[in-house]
């Protein structure tokens, strides 16, 4: 059984059909990439899978269990973690605290689910701090540092700095670290290299390759096709909300429909405003917003 299965997923915004009857499956251990021009509906697809947005139709299954329309907090507890295209680190939290939020669902407090009593218990235990809690706290901190260490000396020396003070690339790394701290069964990465220079991109490539090597299941949105070609087991191409092609990286690249979709949009790149609601984070960080729409 596939780890993730999406059937006929659909989402409309006013008249725009952002996601239009998309089907896809991701097997455990696979790395699947979703590519397509800006505005194709890739981010919306991610939002639907992670529960941040509710579909107008279709189904999402995890391990064959329907999870359609569940709130994001429950999906996180089921092991779905994601990063955001524009970066959503917690600015005033330290890097370490950002990563610890990633481990939120793994804390003992998270198992106190009863509505009122669970809440009161959580308050009381946070006040008393019994030894088991302190032990858990120590362990999670240790693990968070281990996750940070995966990025060499990029993040670890800055663990106690507030995230807003980080460089753009380091904020993006922090986001990946936060997602990893959840110990995800399924990791969704939305343009992890957007706005990064070639060196940084190459670093992310190696990083994702290593995650893949550890058997992580990854669903990846990416514009940089060389990276997609090297990492993906399968590639799904979207255009105008629809899936227009799917297959091995090589075969998708040579598919005339795919080339047509990219070229068709390339002509408008100059005048179309960014399809995303806001690219403020990129702008604020002084990074270019270029998302090359090329198939070379």
């Amino acid at each position: 059984m596939a780890l993730l299965e999406v059937r006929g997923l659909r989402r409309e915004f006013g008249g725009v059909v952002a996601v239009d009857g998309v089907d896809l499956t991701v097997e455990a251990g696979e790395t699947v990439s979703v590519i397509g021009p800006n505005g194709a509906g890739k981010t919306t697809l991610f939002n639907l899978i992670t529960g941040l947005d509710k579909p107008d139709g279709g189904q999402v299954l995890l391990d064959g269990r329907p999870i359609t329309g569940l709130p994001p907090e429950e999906l996180a507890a089921l092991g779905i973690a994601r990063t955001f295209q524009h970066g959503r680190v917690f600015g005033n939290l330290s890097v370490l605290d950002n990563v610890l939020i990633g481990a939120h669902t793994r804390q003992a407090a998270h198992r106190l689910r009863a509505p009122v009593l669970g809440m009161m218990a959580e308050l009381a235990l946070a006040l008393i701090q019994p030894p088991a809690w302190r032990e858990e706290r120590r362990r999670l901190r240790e693990e968070a540092r281990e996750v940070l260490a995966l990025f060499g000396d990029r993040l670890l020396p800055r663990a106690d700095q507030p995230a807003y003070s980080l460089s753009y690339a380091n904020r993006r790394r922090t986001e990946i670290a936060r997602a990893l701290a959840l110990r995800p069964r399924l990791l969704l990465l939305d343009e992890p290299t957007a706005g990064m220079n070639p060196t940084e991109t190459a670093e992310v490539l190696e990083f994702i390759r290593a995650l893949k090597g550890r058997g992580l299941t990854i669903l990846l949105i990416e514009h940089k096709l060389s990276l997609v070609m090297q990492l993906s087991d399968r590639v799904i191409v979207m255009d105008d909300g629809r899936k227009i092609a799917e297959g091995a990286p090589q075969s998708v690249r040579d598919d005339p429909k795919v080339i047509e979709a990219y070229l068709g949009h390339k002509r408008q790149v100059g005048d179309a405003r960014d399809a995303q609601p806001a690219g403020e984070d990129d702008r604020r960080a002084g990074r270019p917003q270029a998302r090359p729409a090329s198939v070379s």
Partner: protein, 612 residues
């Protein structure tokens, strides 16, 4: 209950429509500003009140007729609106989302106090210069003023409609309201449009103020607050930011209120407003006529609080400060000084609770005084009616405040940013209104007197110094409690939720739960402070914990730095003690608070000690 004949019904209908017309004027202004600047303008009520005073000066003081009066009012208020936009708000556009909102609160504090200083806090009689004759129209009696109000409002609404529809400027204004960035790219000077929206809104507000002044034949400084809340309620009813919605919302609110008062009595007047405010926020945040779209999407960027590195107070400084505070009664036996500082400690507890809820958890609460009130009344009633010992009634008061207050705040948990501010303000006011109207329990306006004094293990505590120590000890316990929580995973989760609700949810943070926990923890502390206050004064009524107390507490928090516990205490000392120590300031304390708020937001948004 008055007998309800058809005739009375018709009269009430006219009353309701007339009042509704004025609410509509206020609401249109708020809608314009919300639409163009995406800002809930808390200073709007003050502009309206100033309009009323200018009108009163012209008519009653100078003996002018209504024509020139309205012109002067329009000019003064229009200029005031432009000044507010230009010097109070424009620079804040790129700041944290909370900044312009706080600035409008600061402006309203300052303006209200200025008027109070100039004209005294007492109501001034404002007789209408119009003839008192009433004409009968199909069995309904209509006065000259009624007709004038209706005529002016309809003229203004029509003119505004024509302006928005048919002029280039009006088009630019609507374009800006729809999509600011797009309008800017098309060459619209959005700053000028902002100023224009404030000018038009302020003119309408000022004219509304004059008319209401004549209608109720009096003007007074605090009329600003009520008008502002009425305007919000009308606006929400019709859909925040919608001009036609504001008109309909205003009329509906006027009718509901007038008939409500006719049926249940005038003490219920404000209860209706607030219940509507909250009902709409909970059931239909887009308003009765708003599009079915969800609430306007918040921009992805811009955190709730400013980025900052907090000043860490070394532990020995904190201990030193505490020791000094504990020794104060030995240093000075001046009872007046001790009373001031006792007050400061009680305010510091309120500030702690606000800094937890608003600073740490990011829920902009303007209703925190409601927790004080519940704590105060609960503890007083348990001690008076059931004879509970003080230790027990204090703790029970705190617990009841936390539980009941959080339950009442529940509707807020679905809302975000500015809506939270608006809804908490409304809920704080509902608590106040319930206290006012539930006479069997609370004794209504008369309040509770002869509340048992403070005591500990049966020993009464009535001297100034022991009361001082008792308050200080409670503050220390509250601070330790809060420190413990904010250092645990709860603190981290609260702050993450404040920074970005979407990202927090994506990592499993259940927002309702952690918002509730913040209100419970903060409610315990505020409730304890309120309970202590009740026994200390041995008398409380519904005004002991007025809405301005919440905003004062918030100012302390912003002064010290959001979420910063030492900042909350420093802010409380500064704003409680300073005006008392420098007597001339005491009469103008709200002017001071307002100016402090404005300067902070502009020049040091992270507060003195920084956001945590």
């Amino acid at each position: 209950m008055p007998e309800f004949t058809l005739r009375a019904f018709a009269d009430q209908l006219v009353n309701g429509l007339v009042i509704g017309n004025i609410y509509a004027l206020i609401a249109i202004g708020l809608a314009l500003i919300f639409g163009v600047a995406n800002l809930i303008n808390f200073a709007h009520g003050s502009v309206y009140m100033i309009g009323a005073y200018v009108g009163w000066v012209c008519v009653t003081g100078l003996g002018w007729s209504l024509g020139p009066t309205f012109i002067v009012v329009a000019v003064v208020c229009g200029v005031l609106g432009v000044l507010i936009e230009r010097f109070g708000l424009r620079r804040l556009q790129s700041e944290a989302r909370i900044a312009p909102l706080l600035a409008t609160i600061g402006i309203s504090f300052a303006l209200d106090q200025l008027v109070q200083l100039i004209f005294s806090p007492n109501p001034q009689s404002f007789p209408s210069p119009l003839p008192a004759t009433r004409v009968m129209l199909g069995g309904v009696s209509i006065g000259a003023l009624d007709a004038l109000i209706a005529a002016i409002t309809i003229t203004i609404a029509a003119a505004l409609f024509a302006f928005l529809r048919f002029t280039r400027l009006g088009w630019a204004l609507r374009a800006t309201a729809q999509d600011r960035e797009a309008a800017q790219q098309m060459g619209v000077d959005v700053n000028a449009i902002n100023a224009l929206a404030f000018a038009v809104a302020s003119v309408l507000g000022g004219i509304g103020g004059v008319m209401i002044g004549m209608y109720f034949t009096s003007v007074y400084p605090t009329m600003s607050y009520g008008a502002m809340v009425k305007g919000f309620a009308a606006n929400l009813l019709g859909g925040l930011g919608s001009v036609p919605g504001a008109v309909i919302g205003g009329l509906l609110l006027g009718l509901i209120e007038t008939f409500g008062v006719a049926l249940f009595g005038s003490t219920y007047r404000n209860l209706f407003t607030f219940v509507i405010l909250i009902g709409v926020l909970v059931l239909r945040p887009t308003g009765l006529f708003g599009a079915q779209r969800a609430m306007p999407p918040e921009p992805l960027t811009g955190t709730f609080v400013a980025n900052s590195k907090p000043v860490r107070i070394p532990w020995f400084v904190a201990i030193g400060g505490l020791v000094a505070a504990a020794l104060l009664p030995f240093i000075s036996s001046n009872p007046y000084l001790l009373q001031i500082f006792t007050n400061a400690w009680l305010f510091a507890m309120l500030a702690l609770s606000i800094t937890l809820v608003t600073g740490t958890a990011g829920q902009m609460s303007l209703g925190q005084a409601g927790f004080l009130a519940i704590g105060g009344y609960a503890s007083a009633l348990l001690a008076m009616r059931l004879g509970w010992p003080l230790e027990l009634s204090l703790l029970a008061g705190a617990a009841i405040a936390a539980a009941l207050g959080t339950l009442l705040m529940w509707p807020v948990f679905r809302l975000r940013n500015q809506y939270v501010a608006l809804a908490t303000l409304g809920i704080g006011e509902v608590i106040n209104q319930i206290i006012l109207n539930w006479e069997g329990l609370t004794n209504g306006v008369l309040g509770l007197s002869n509340i048992p004094p403070l005591s500990l293990f049966g020993l009464p505590i009535v001297e100034t110094a022991p009361i001082y120590w008792f308050a200080l000890a409670m503050l220390v316990v509250a601070a330790l409690f809060q420190w413990r929580l904010t250092q645990s995973h709860l603190g981290r989760t609260w702050r993450a939720m404040r920074e970005d609700e979407v990202a927090a949810r994506a990592f499993g943070v259940s927002l309702h739960r952690y918002k509730a926990l913040a209100f419970i923890a903060g409610g315990l502390i505020a409730g304890l402070s309120g309970a202590f206050t009740a026994h200390m004064y041995s008398y409380i009524n519904n005004e002991t914990f007025a809405a301005t107390t919440s905003i004062l507490g918030l100012t302390m928090v912003i002064l010290g730095g959001m979420g910063n516990m030492s900042g909350a205490v420093v802010g409380a000392i500064a704003l409680t003690a300073l005006p008392e120590l420098f007597r001339p300031l005491a009469d103008a304390r709200y002017l001071l608070y307002g100016v402090v708020l404005l300067l902070l937001v502009r020049f040091r948004p992270q507060g003195l000690l920084g956001t945590v």
